[in-house]
């Protein structure tokens, strides 16, 4: 009888994970950050070689990445010393340590950051140290950088300027 009751409880937990996540404070946000972590490590080379990042404060290591998911549109200003992954749409002014624009991501605006990794679409003005443009990326606008990598197939339009 007792065992059966316990089993039922477990079954309920599995059936309604979102409701049960509330009291389980010991495991904060289990699904989303875990899923994005492998991609994250590839996306932010500054994570490994944090030397000489243009006078910018290094990213706080325990800062969790923020994610603008696919289908999510944000208009406004973002300021952080951490990581931002954009799979949705962001329009506005951004000041961050690292930005990754995913394949589905669109970023339109004025951006200042240390590390930028574009796999999706970028338009506007960008000031960064380390810029990586992926093979399916489209970048349009005024870009200034210290180091640039363009993978084969990446499209870059506009003005490019290298900072000393």
């Amino acid at each position: 009888m007792f065992i059966n009751k316990k089993r039922n409880d477990e079954r309920e937990k599995m059936a309604t994970p979102t409701e049960n996540s509330q009291p389980l404070v010991a495991e904060p946000e289990p699904a989303a950050p875990d899923m994005s972590m492998p991609d994250m490590d590839q996306g932010y080379p500054a994570n490994g070689n944090g030397n000489g990042n243009g006078g910018m404060k290094p990213a706080v290591n325990n800062l969790k990445p923020s994610i603008i998911s696919e289908g999510f549109e944000f208009i406004g200003e973002i300021r952080s010393n951490g990581y931002l992954t954009i799979d949705g749409t962001v329009r506005g002014t951004l000041s961050l340590h690292s930005i990754q624009i995913g394949v589905t991501g669109v970023l339109d605006g004025n951006v200042t950051c240390d590390t930028m990794n574009v796999k999706g679409n970028f338009a506007g003005s960008l000031d960064c140290r380390d810029l990586t443009i992926g093979s399916r990326a489209v970048t349009d606008g005024k870009v200034s950088f210290k180091s640039i990598t363009i993978q084969r197939g990446g499209v870059v339009k506009g003005e490019l300027k290298k900072k000393p």
Partner: protein, 122 residues
Amino acid sequence: MEAVLADSNQSGCLTVGEGVVLNGTFVVPDIASVSGSIEGDITARELIVASSGVIKGKVTAEIIDLRGEIHDTLTAKKSLFIRSTGKALGSVQYAEIEIEKGGDLQGSLQKIDGDGPASGTY
């Protein structure tokens, strides 16, 4: 690789050795391999600029492999490959581009419609 390409088929090729300085307009039907310095316009099917090579002028080629420097105007009808020591400054037109980390690309960029990728797929 560039030496092999230039040696195996010399017809239609131009090789500018290190320390050589050329001025003028050059039309190269096949491969132009530049280790020296060129001032002027150059048109080639394939242009290979070694790390000691410097070209100042209007440069047009289907394929450009850049380890040295190109200043002014650069048009790559098929593909532009800037290696880590490569430097492209000025007005750049390309159908397909790739830059290694450390490569330098500055100026205005424009993508043109090429005849298709030089090799491989996107």
